[in-house]
Symmetry: C3
Subunit: 348 residues, 3 copies
């Protein structure tokens, strides 16, 4: 038997199958520093131990997206090594804060399998859970990917397409344990805008633009131990029509989220992922811009939550909020449509 | 009201105004590792906890320039988002060592305002103080920047140009608390040169050259949470005559300071900034060289201090000490003229 | 006397000479994070504190190669600043695990000197020892480099070529103190392959390819405080026929070692370096591939050890195991031939 891991092909998956992913990972202050250097986030709660303590936490938690990328990275060798495309995310919940020193592992359940009519590929749906060293789930999400078949003729015994919630219900959101925004320092956090100040339907252009270099997305993606070949193997990618390494979609999400500080200064803490699609590929060297739309609001008691749509573009400022058209088709410059819940403090 | 921060324009500043800058930042060993990876400094005191302990400190302090860049970064959204040029630094003092685990905030006072005769821009002078989690000032400096006016016709009620000291007086320098160079290990630090070995007027070519890549200056500048658009937004910069992202001047300072190890091996610890100017822009890809001149010496009792002029160039070795001419004009290859005080151990 | 360190020329070395290298270095979680971001290793033992504890260690040790590069880096200013080529490694032993928080220093003994017949250069052999803050040797290795003479006419008083072992004897290998693989979790580590599953002569194509960017190798090499000019000084390198900065060989070793996870998932822990040669230069932008051959096996009692040959190529996949020919000549695409021992758990 070859000791090299070929990854799973579509016919290797089974409905209900559980995959325990390899390489447990201790998150450290070094990872956080790299996350900061790679994206430049400025959300106070994840930037300062003192600010976090004033909000009831023991120290600054890591950005939920860093935890997400690390858990995601673990699933790649088992789920998407032979993937053609990462199709979407849904039902994402951040269940507990992750702190430097925590060790993450990941497990996935196959919840859907749908062969494509060409019989060359199929769509695999997995529900992945990230677990910390105390056995506690810290995040959970569904993603679906299009995966190649090894053998076109291979039969797929059981198929099913899961029914996924269009959005996480506000009642299912979980705040980081101990969090208390009653002493939240809006000025120190960079803006006075509280939960009450955002209106459903409001759109915000985040103005700033950020270029991502090849070295940067590679550093990020390796940090997450995400091994997908398309991000690193230029020799192979040179044969692709684009000729380029593809940037891991998570880099786009984190870049756009960091840009969103400008307008959503107090909405750093992602609580849930409702939906997400990488609607066009992003290659290094283009400048990422972003805008957001407030889709919904929910009063969680101790704080509010905003349901936000984060749209990112490449080489296209967002003053006019570039968007899909009435047929659902996106302009070529739009690269991300990401729908999430974030905690936002209420006015004191 | 827009929730996007447009930054301040010249007419928004008032003499005596105090600006409390956003995003407190806990400095971590991860930030230090990135600082090392970005510049390659080899000064023993900031490289080794053991060496630092032998010098009376609890552990290795972070490079004073890392603390400086972090404090500087916080001021950018309020001071220089709409700046055309960062004109200079003066009266910089490092008041206490910063250690991993410390959390920095920053506050600035507007100490000068001078509208330019074209009425389109003005010069803003601020005195910025970095403060740690114990409320203790760790560094303080003056910088002045040329800032755009939003509205040419806007009147500027009160103007004044501050009188700035040409250099920090040696008597004002503050050594890191507890520091004791009596057991300083010159061999381990890399060179035998003590305070006594340096002569006023002495020039040192630092010989080595260091190229900075786009990814590197972006990583550095984001690490400092410095959001100035010129460093990241290639889409916008493509419209500039240079067509290039501008490298944050602090990257040039830190690169040149790291190069200065070769000749100033025991002068790593900056105590004060007398003056500093980015005399020409630096773009990624050029190789940075540097030379130093000993401008002054001061015996601080437990150790000495050298007043040093650090001149950096791009694509121009410094064996012949490229410098401004008698009219004060700099050759195009000179990018930095930085005047600072550094602690240097005396011979045992 | 110039305060700039010119490095040693061949005639400056003496047989038996001891060189205490400068700049002690505390290894931190930040260094580990950068190591992960730069190479993407996925070996469980160095990735997870929990996994390491389950294997009897106090926390995850740093990758032995990170310790090696840091020790190596210290020797560069004294040994190889004027080197033309790094010719080889031998007799490398990792004597104790290095943990975040440890401080490393390095000392070298000159064990061989051989002037070349052209009298312009000579080969210097040094045995270097890395020592931690408790004075304990953590690693030791021999390397030899070709160094320029300052003065062709300078006589070389004493010359000798050391006799080096073709490989480290298995009996000399030292396991990290406390290590215990009896509860080793193969599934969590990513593969079921135990010591018993590897056969002498077995070859493994590691399949994946990894491109290294200029920014990446510079970040790595500066992190190790390795100052060799060829890696950073593009202005100078532009005069070389290649016109390119040369990538530090250690970057190639670590990149290839990280790639080797795919097939050697449980052989992350290097115990010894038998031999190593950078057989062709590597420049940024090419994609690194690698394959391994099992050269020998040794039962160390509590675990096994595999003697592995790691061959890396540039822009050349390794499905057909590109290798030297019968005359010992390497194809131009082969960049590394590295022979080492690694610990591998036995089946429970």
């Amino acid at each position: 038997m070859s000791k090299t891991d070929p990854g799973h092909y579509f016919e290797d998956f089974r409905l209900g199958q559980t995959l325990h992913h390899a390489t447990p990972r201790t998150v450290t202050p070094g990872d956080v520093a790299l996350y900061n250097a790679l994206y430049g986030p400025r959300f106070a709660l994840t930037s300062s131990d003192e600010f976090a303590r004033a909000c009831g936490l023991e120290l600054a938690p890591v950005d939920p997206l860093l935890a997400f990328h690390m858990v995601f990275g673990k699933t790649v060798p088992d789920i998407s090594l032979n993937a053609i495309a990462n199709l979407g995310y849904a039902e994402g919940l951040f269940l507990d804060a992750v702190y430097p020193g925590d060790t993450l592992t990941a497990v996935s359940e196959v919840i859907g399998l749908k062969e494509n009519s060409n019989r060359k590929t199929g769509v695999v749906y997995v529900r992945t859970t990230g677990v910390n060293q105390r056995g506690r789930a810290v995040l959970r999400y569904v993603r679906w990917v299009m995966v190649r078949k090894r053998d076109e003729a291979a039969p797929i015994p059981e198929q099913a397409t899961p029914t996924l919630a269009p959005a996480v219900a506000a009642g299912d959101l979980v705040l980081p344990r101990g969090i208390d925004f009653s002493r939240y320092d809006f000025a120190l956090a960079g803006a006075p805008h509280a939960f009450e100040d955002y209106a459903v339907g409001e759109k915000i252009d985040h103005v700033d633009g950020m270029c991502v270099e090849e070295a940067e997305h590679q550093l990020a993606t390796r940090l997450y131990q995400n091994t997908a070949k398309v991000h690193f193997n230029q020799y192979e990618r040179a044969k692709d029509p684009t000729g380029r390494r593809l940037v891991y979609g998570g880099v786009v999400i984190s870049t756009a989220k960091a840009l969103s500080f400008n307008g959503l200064q107090n909405a750093g803490m992602i609580l849930g992922i409702n939906a997400g699609r990488h609607v066009n590929p992003y290659f290094a060297g283009a400048t990422v811009f972003a805008w957001s739309e407030v889709l919904d609001k929910a009063d969680l008691g101790p704080c509010g939550a905003l349901r936000l749509r984060l749209v990112a573009t490449k080489d296209r400022p967002c003053a006019d909020f570039p968007d899909k058209d009435e047929t659902g088709a996106y302009p070529g410059e739009v690269i991300l449509d990401f729908d999430y819940w974030a905690a936002v403090p209420k006015r004191g």
